[in-house]
Amino acid sequence: MVTSRMSSAMRMKKEKNAACGENGNEPVQCDEMHVLAVDDCLIERKVIEKLLKTNFFKVTTVDSAERALEVLGFHEEQSTCAASNAFKVNMIITDYCMPGMTGYDLLKKVQETKCLKEIPVVIISSENVPQRITSCLAGGAKDFIIKPLKLADVTKLKGHIKPPKDVVSTSANASSSGPVSSKRKISSGRARGKMSERRPRVGGLTSV
């Protein structure tokens, strides 16, 4: 039986739109959600990025924990964040197993840094190791998800996001007398709009 499997992703897009209001009238919160995804594998980054874009406006992917700290504006020596090049993120999703600094190491660093510790961290891993899961959750991770990430997992992640006003901004020291400047470029991958016309429901065909 031929079915339209696009409906679940489409449903999520519609839910997001509903939560955000009609097009053109979105409250700031949904559009300002920014997730930083960390994974050393390119293919996994591509898939995670696409998955996240069905639910979040902006996604930044990096290939290492070290790079993640850089984009977050973290300075090792001062154990603080520079205002100038800091990304404002509402959540960090990181792979556990990475060469060099692991996802767990990143979690700990974020937790112990004043300007970052409010950012929820979610760990993802291909291995279901109970001890690992426990230590990550005990270490402050908001969630631990077994790869591969699914659309259903991503919807759940929304619950861990703090709205922008509650996040300690990494650019808190910058002078600002008004709302945060929205100089973001519109993500070309913003997942809104009609489902692909390549995959409509086709009646009258049966599968074996």
Binding site: L42, I43, S126, M195, L205, S207
Partner: protein, 151 residues
């Protein structure tokens, strides 16, 4: 072949790939993510996987040829292969990686070499199957049809 016939062939072929374990639900997930903003998403990700896989297989051959074998390095390559194959839903390739890692843990060089051969086989099989699938999609589109979704 007309559009209807091509579509039937596509559905049959897709079903067989799932039935025979070449693909799992993660592949369906990828298809669901594809949309107008990125209509070639699946082909792009799978192509990246092919590139990555060829490199990993070459690295694995090289690492296993060295004496003594750096099993940690072998394991790292296999771990990456497992991750990327899992991400695109290439189930049999992923499962082969799981077996491979067990031999790495045992520091069993012969076992690893055998696994590498099996992994290559599974990978090339998966590659052929996926390329055929994309070719069928292309034929359907060329014939003016649309690609059906299947269970």
């Amino acid at each position: 072949m007309d559009v209807i016939q091509l579509q039937r062939r596509f559905i049959d072929y897709t079903s067989s790939l799932y039935r025979e374990g070449f693909l799992d639900e993660q592949f369906t997930q990828l298809q669901q993510l594809q949309d107008e903003s990125n209509p070639e998403f699946v082909v792009e990700v799978v192509s990246l996987f092919f590139e990555d896989a060829e490199k990993l297989l070459a690295d694995l051959s090289k690492t296993l040829a060295q004496q003594p074998v750096d099993f940690k390095k072998v394991d790292a390559h296999v771990h990456q292969f497992k991750g990327s194959s899992s991400s695109i839903g290439a189930q049999r390739v992923k499962n082969e990686c799981v077996s491979f890692r067990a031999f790495c843990e045992q520091r069993n060089r012969e076992g690893c070499l055998q696994c590498l051969e099996q992994l290559k086989q599974e990978y090339y099989l998966a590659k052929n199957k996926l390329e055929s699938l994309f070719q069928l999609e292309h034929q359907i589109l060329e014939a003016g049809g649309t690609i059906p979704m299947t269970e």
